[in-house]
């Protein structure tokens, strides 16, 4: 591998010499050789990829990569701009000064620290419940044979496809009858019972994972006197660490980003409960900001693109930080869960 990379690097260096017009000055029979070499270099041979192909792949990847992060770059750059920078057509990307005012005002209007703390609760507690319930259910499906197992799996798949809107209205009424509307219990309770947001995916991940735990291992544990619960808790669960990591990361992210159900069940649409999250604050950013600007004593600027963008930046900042710290687990997560089969 290393040798090959070195070889490629060497070829690249020689390529520059060939591509330059200095190749024209060479003697004729040498020219023939370089031409052959050049063609081989560009189009590749049996055992080596051609420069052209490699170049196209890199160019495409870099272009598409740029398109991917373009909105984030745009957001980042315009969040630092002052109003003058925004109006100045000569300033495109780099703001004239490093200006944190937008962030301060956005944070104040979003009530950043309170919403941040509640966001963590709203995302964290159901994640924990999801983890517990989905692992138990997944284990039950993977390890035991019982009548109606196929039906259960079918229903789990069905709940994944079914849009949540169809059950949303009765669930809303149900929660309000139970008196848990506008509290965190509206998220925790379904999560405990394996009906949280995207819980079917998590159950299937655990199911897939526990199927790979060798049955012999569990039988050995049972011969040594472990009960059913112990062989799950002490033997199977520790070996499912990758699944646990994947499920908790994704569950956290999905709960964090869920604005629709959060605003409906937890923070309330018609009646405002005390609960809020960063995403909910962002959803109502314009009205919140207006309210804040009216009450602010030191004459806050009226809402503009920079403030919008800093608000957006603030609401995704915790996730971005988490992503860059835990990137390995995120990116490898799908490999590890064995969704694609072994």
């Amino acid at each position: 591998m290393l040798k090959r990379m070195q070889k490629q690097a060497g070829d690249k260096a020689s390529a520059e010499q060939i591509v330059t017009p200095s190749g024209e000055v060479l003697i004729k029979d040498k020219k023939q050789i370089t031409k052959d070499k050049f063609r081989k270099f560009m189009l590749g041979s049996k055992d080596r990829e051609g420069f052209l192909k490699v170049f196209v792949i890199y160019a495409l990847l870099i272009c598409i990569g740029f398109i991917y992060i373009y909105p984030i770059l745009h957001m980042l750059s315009s969040s630092f701009m002052t109003l003058d920078d925004l109006l100045d057509s000569s300033i495109n990307w780099i703001p004239s000064s490093f200006n944190l005012d937008n962030y301060k005002q956005a944070a104040k209007s979003m009530d950043f620290w309170k919403s941040f703390g509640q966001s963590i609760l709203i995302a964290g507690l159901p994640t924990l419940c999801n983890l517990i319930s989905c692992s138990i259910i997944g284990y039950g499906l993977a390890r035991f044979e019982f009548p109606g197992k196929k039906v259960v799996l079918g229903i789990i798949l069905f709940t994944f496809i079914l849009p949540s809107q169809v059950t949303m209205i009765p669930t809303y009424v149900l929660y309000s009858n139970m008196g848990i509307l506008g509290t965190i219990w509206a998220f925790i309770l379904p999560a405990i019972l394996g009906m949280g947001i995207n819980a079917p995916i998590f159950i299937l991940i655990f199911w897939q994972f526990f199927r790979q735990v060798p049955k012999v291992l569990i039988e050995a544990a049972q011969i040594d006197g472990a009960g059913y619960w112990k062989s799950f808790y002490r033997i199977s669960l520790p070996s499912a660490a990758p699944a646990i990591i994947t499920v908790s990361l994704f569950s956290f992210v999905w709960y964090w980003n869920e604005s629709y159900l959060t605003s409906m069940y937890v923070s309330g649409i018609t009646t405002k409960s005390g609960w809020t999250s960063l995403i909910i604050q962002l959803k109502n950013f314009a009205t919140n900001y207006d309210k804040y600007a009216q009450t602010a004593a030191n004459g806050a600027a009226s809402i503009n693109e920079s403030i919008n963008m800093s608000g957006t930046m603030l609401s995704i900042l915790p996730l971005l930080l988490m992503y860059f710290v835990l990137q390995r687990y995120f990116v490898e997560s799908i490999d590890r869960t064995g969704i694609t089969g072994e």
Partner: protein, 345 residues
Amino acid sequence: MSKKNPGKEDKMSKKNKRKLKEGSLAKRDAIVGLLFITPWIVGALVFLAYPLITSFRYALNNMRMTPLGMRFRYVGYGNFTEILFSQTDFTTEMISYLVSTIISVPIIVVFALIIAIMLNQNVKGKGFFRLIFFLPVIIVSGPILGMLNQEGAGSLTSIDTQAITSILESSLPGALADPISDLFENMVTILWYSGVQILIFISALQKIDRSMYEAAKIDGGSGWECFWKITLPNIKPMILLNIVYTIVFISNNEQNSIIGLIQDSMFSGTQEKGYGYASAMAWMYSIVVLLMVGLFAGLFMSRKDVYEKQVKKAKKAHKKEQRQLKQIERRSARNAKKNAKASRG
């Protein structure tokens, strides 16, 4: 929950230990398995079956919130006909949703496949690219996309979408042109939807046996042929998975205008709207989504082996023959009895 269960299990196993002499292991396993998925069963009854049935009941009623509680008035299919024929917003939104989904699902899946194949080559900085392509999965959510689109960060300013839009509008009917031009304007957000799909494809591509490609190369197969004859058939199940995932993701996304419509009519105070009206809308929407998933699944479901099919057919024919033979036997026996009776009589 976690504390409750071990006690249950212990009791269960103790109880069963005494019975063990006659009870079979399989039976005990089945009971414990059911115990393990009890949370799910309860959850499915409370948060799935009950809401589904109730939602259907709501859809057949006109519901009003009064200080005394909810008041139902049975209207039969009134809500459905109201949505379909009297109000125009649902049908127009539905058509644009259908068109844009049918167009964007293949785009997303094919795009994800191309990226995955490129990343599966010997590319330096593979980890970095994967990091970038997966980033949107982490931050994508309704309000953020809304905010980005509002500020124009969702479309590429460098590509002149105006020209494409005007061409489309002049050549296609309005119902088709609008979703397609929307697609071009929100190209970035479309690409953003494909993070998970890319990773699924990459891990599927890595699991294809290298030696297959080598064998194909020895037999003189080109890269193009290898792609169609080896890569594609191998990742076909993943294509189906990605298609289903994409449809579900697009349909449940808050950016979807139908979802907004349902929510609006749920809390609207007008006479004919309300919970019942919204439920009817949600039912129709779900049925459309399920049908669409079914359609794509039907297109990409792995077909059964021809050999297996033939075997099944033969078995069926054999069974039928046997049944007929038995019938004839029975009939002849009956006839013989009858004849004997008649001759005796």
